[in-house]
């Protein structure tokens, strides 16, 4: 059993007043350990919804979502929180650092929640991660004193500090310029290779997409298919051109 995420026939509906919006209409998917997987698709196709289900911050209307071998529908709220804490790392589009804490404290935060490590061990671990993201010299800074790219690096360090099996990133580069975005994806990729951590990230950006091992293509709440990164980029480009043509026309 190498699948870290296993999704079968998942439907997610949102109730908007009288009408029911189906964000996901029967999605099935397997993600293997160590994958560096991208989720692509047009706006509103359900990327965020899918990541939220995998990240256990939301529950499916129907179907099965298994993360690290556990059926998330059967877990209590506390257990889901513990699963998030110990198994999953999150990288957010808008970084979501705690502004009143220092860089160091932000990265340390999940370790404190876990309460497994003593002070010195925690410190070593945090500093190691900060070094890996190249920010060990900024440990005492506040997030507000950092650039967007630096903040996202801190977020990456925070996501990885607990050695999660799986890291989820919903459009991690959307708030960064493309060069910086690429650096973040490079960083994630290198961590993926060093530690074997599974990464799932969504993106619109084909340049970002091309770093992935594989791309899950979503459209209208359904999985169109699983492609290699190269195909996906080509696909994206053609779509992009089509879209550009549409705009031109």
């Amino acid at each position: 059993m190498n699948a870290i995420v296993s999704i079968r026939d998942v439907v997610k509906e949102y109730q908007l007043g009288q009408t029911t919006v189906q964000a996901l209409r029967g999605v099935s998917l397997e993600v293997l350990k160590g994958e560096f997987l991208s989720i692509a698709g047009p706006s509103g196709s359900g990327k965020t919804t899918l990541l939220n289900l995998i990240g256990c911050v939301d529950t499916a209307t129907r179907g099965v979502v298994e993360v690290a071998g556990k059926d998330t529908a059967k877990l209590t709220e506390r257990e889901l929180t513990d699963l998030r804490l110990n198994t999953i790392g999150f990288i957010f589009q808008s970084f979501n650092l705690v502004s009143v804490l220092t860089v160091f404290q932000n990265v340390e935060f999940p370790l404190l929640l876990q309460g497994k490590l003593g002070g010195s061990e925690r410190k070593a671990k945090v500093m190691q991660l900060l070094e890996q993201v190249g920010l060990h010299t900024h440990a005492k800074h506040r997030p507000s004193e950092l650039s967007g790219g630096q903040r996202q690096r801190v977020a990456v360090a925070r996501a990885l500090v607990t050695d999660p099996l799986l890291v989820l990133a919903d459009e991690p580069t959307a708030n960064l310029d493309s060069a910086t975005g690429n650096q973040i994806i490079d960083l994630m990729k290198s961590l993926n290779q060093q530690k074997g951590t599974t990464f799932i990230f969504s993106t619109h950006d084909h340049k970002v997409m091309q770093h992935a091992n594989a791309v899950i293509r979503l459209a209208d709440g359904k999985v169109l298919g699983r492609e290699s990164a190269k195909d996906a980029v080509a696909h994206a480009l053609s779509l992009g051109e089509a879209a550009a043509n549409e705009v031109r026309a």
Binding site: N52, V57, T81, R84, N86, G89, F90, S99, P110, L113
Partner: protein, 707 residues
């Protein structure tokens, strides 16, 4: 550990970010400060007042008859003294109560009041002359005239005669002055004739031939011309004086001595002695000096100005006290002092008493060194026998003669009118006055009444008539009805009185009669309320028929004063913290709503709801502790300053509440702990709702862009 310190750090930094916290903090600071300081002051006041009340009469617990109509109120209440049932089985009660492990002593008591008359100045002088003449004839009515050597008796008679003659001279001069001002018809020719007669040398030359007739003429025709007689209401506590002196060790004898063990006797409360029995001019000089030493100025102070004015106007008390020799001595002294050649004593005194801020000190000194030795400074002197008349419970007038052994005051309460106006009397005399009889006496009396067919005034109606409307009735009745001479005649009566003064009573006799209430002194006052419950249970169990109440209850309204201020404090503090709660609640609600993304993020990356809850709570608790702690610090600082410097009693009444001239407030740890509890309660209470709302923030909120 790490988690908590992180929460505190988050809280601290969040607090610094929001200026509303300063307002909340200021409220908490002020509320805590107020609670610590005012609470501490009230505690200290309460403790001081407890010392005053407990130490000056009440003891820790008071017991009185369960059948009493009124509640016991040691310091009197609106309608005079409370109507208490008689405790008739005191020895049994005392024994039962003293068997309780926490009871040290039970002191029997009864509070009552009576009028004493100080006859007018001429009457007093004539009475003295009459007593001296009688003593010369070998008839001694009062103990102070006993055992006088014949030579001394003669000297005193001569002095007394001179005194009376000098009085007549003064009155005659007054009358002539009045005649000059008023028209002739306004003056009673009979008085003019009488004055003329007694002013003549013939009258005095013939005095020895008919001393009794001459005295009677003076008493009937001259004495009524002076109308300065005074009725004084004197309040006294009848008690077992020995036990009282042992149990209330703040009591100090100021003048004279204790009443010998087991004997009848009277101790005058020093303040009453000064205020009511001292020569008014002297008392006012004392008061002026006191006020000056406190920095008050005669030049600007209305009360002091009034004292000076009264002193200048009321010189007659002094003039009438002196015989011709002493008058000229006083005139000479005053002429020298004032550098004046005025010959009239009254005019000289008026000039002398024109005291100012500058000359008061010197004149006060001169008065006490030069004039006071010639004067009788007090109407009642230590060693005198005081006649006290009162209405007994049966409605009859009873009178007792008690010897004044001295004056007393309670240490620290010397100036307090509350503690300084109740004098002390032995229990036997008290019972005589109060009219409660021992069982066999009552039987004897009933027998007598059956024989004589005397109609008994029912006790109930007599009480209502006499005591129902306060003291005014008593005052009028006493002034009109009592004829002193009729009351005290007869050799038998005299011998009885004499015997009574010297007789030593046993404990059994003292305890054996009726008492009205009793002070219970405890070994461990900390167990007060428990002991009271136990004593009440004991009374029910052994059928003692008594009620036990705390000193606080026994002191009536007075005991409630501190409680009243405490309620005010609680209300003020509750208001301040109430406002704080509303603001905290609002502020934390706003803060929570502004921080949903952070909270959502924390939830997403694995924080449990409990952590979110504690994060919000810790924030307001930190706020509360920081500012509350500051409030406590400032409050404690002020309290320790006050403790080392003390607060001076602003007036005489405050002496009682301060239990002395200065209150040394004590900071109580209990108050700090309670303040801490209140702060925690207020902050946690007001943040509960925002905290719960925070726990409801979904981790999904982390994914949404911050609006």
């Amino acid at each position: 550990m790490g988690r908590l310190s992180m929460l505190v750090q988050i809280a601290w930094r969040n607090l610094l970010a929001s200026p509303i916290n300063l307002i909340i903090g200021a409220l908490i600071l002020f509320g805590t400060f107020l609670f610590v300081v005012v609470g501490g002051l009230l505690d200290s006041l309460n403790a001081a007042m407890a010392r005053s009340v407990i130490g000056s009469a009440a003891g820790h617990v008071q017991i009185y008859s369960a059948k009493s109509k009124d509640e016991l109120s040691l310091y009197g209440s609106m309608g005079g003294d409370p109507d208490l049932g008689a405790v008739t089985e005191f020895p049994r009660i005392k024994e039962a109560l003293e068997a309780h492990p926490n009871v040290k002593e039970v002191v029997p008591m009864g509070v009552s009041g009576a009028l004493i008359t100080s006859g007018n100045t001429v009457d007093v002088a004539l009475e003295e002359l009459r007593n001296l003449l009688k003593a010369k004839d070998g008839v001694v009515d009062r103990p102070e005239y006993k055992n006088l050597a014949p030579a001394e008796l003669d000297t005193r008679i001569t002095a007394s005669r001179r005194h009376v003659r000098q009085m007549i001279k003064v009155l005659d001069a007054d009358q002539k002055k009045a005649a000059a001002i008023l028209q002739d018809k306004a003056i009673d020719p009979e008085v003019v004739a009488a004055l003329q007669k007694v002013s003549s040398d013939d009258f005095w030359a013939g005095f020895d031939n008919d001393p009794w007739g001459s005295l009677e003429f003076l008493e009937n025709k001259i004495a009524p011309q002076v109308t300065d007689s005074q009725l004084l209401f004197i309040r006294y506590l009848g008690t077992d004086l020995d036990r009282f002196q042992q149990s209330f060790d703040r009591m100090q004898i100021v003048d004279g001595t204790r009443v010998p063990k087991g004997q009848r006797g009277f101790l005058v409360a020093k303040l009453f002695y000064e205020d009511q029995l001292k020569l008014k001019s002297a008392r006012r000089l004392d008061k002026l000096k006191d006020a000056r030493s406190l920095g008050r100025l005669i030049a600007t102070d209305d009360e002091l100005k009034r004292f000076v004015k009264e002193n200048k106007a009321q010189t007659r008390d002094i003039v009438l006290q002196l015989d011709d020799l002493k008058t000229s001595e006083a005139v000479t002294k005053l002429q020298g002092f004032l550098k004046s050649d005025e010959k009239d004593l009254a005019t000289l005194l008026t000039a002398f008493f024109d005291t100012t801020d500058e000359n008061l000190e010197v004149r006060h000194g001169f008065f006490y060194e030069q004039l006071a030795p010639m004067l009788q400074l007090y109407k009642v002197r230590v060693g005198d026998t005081l006649t006290i008349k009162a209405f007994s419970r049966a409605g009859a007038i009873s009178a007792v003669n008690v010897k004044v052994y001295g004056t007393f005051a309670f240490t620290g309460l010397e100036k307090s009118p509350l503690a300084g106006t109740t004098s002390l009397m032995d229990l036997m005399s008290f019972r005589d006055l109060y009219g409660y009889l021992t069982a066999d006496k009552a039987e004897e009396l009933a027998q007598l009444k059956r024989e004589t067919g005397a109609k008994q005034v029912t006790r109930e109606s007599a009480e209502d008539d006499l005591f129902g409307e306060g003291n005014t009735v008593v005052a009028e009745a006493t002034a009109g009805v009592i004829d002193e001479k009729k009351e005290f005649t007869g050799v038998g009566r005299r011998l009885r009185e004499d015997d009574l003064v010297r007789r030593v009573y046993s404990d059994a006799e003292i305890n054996g009669g009726v008492v009205l209430h009793a002070a219970v002194i405890l070994k461990d006052p900390a167990l007060l309320s428990k002991t009271i419950d136990e004593l009440n249970a004991l009374s029910t169990e052994k059928n003692l028929g008594i009620k036990a109440v705390s000193w606080q209850q026994a002191s009536g309204l007075l005991g409630q004063v501190i409680l009243f201020f405490r309620v005010l404090l609680v209300m003020a503090v509750a208001f301040i913290f109430g406002v704080a709660m509303v603001i905290i609640n609002n502020a934390m609600m706003m803060a929570t709503l502004q921080r949903t993304q952070v909270i959502g993020t924390m939830r997403a990356i694995g924080a449990q709801r409990t952590l979110v809850l504690s994060m919000v709570l810790v924030e307001s608790v930190v706020l509360g502790l920081v500012f509350g702690g500051l409030g406590m610090l400032v409050g404690s600082g002020l309290m320790s300053f006050l403790h080392s410097h003390g607060i001076a009693a602003p007036n005489d009444v405050a002496y009682f509440f301060f239990s002395g001239p200065r209150l040394l407030p004590e900071l109580s740890t209990a108050n700090l702990i309670i303040a801490l509890g209140i702060i925690l309660l207020v902050t946690l209470g007001s943040t509960m709702l925002p905290a719960i709302i925070a726990t409801r923030v979904s981790p999904l909120r982390a994914m949404q862009a911050d609006e």
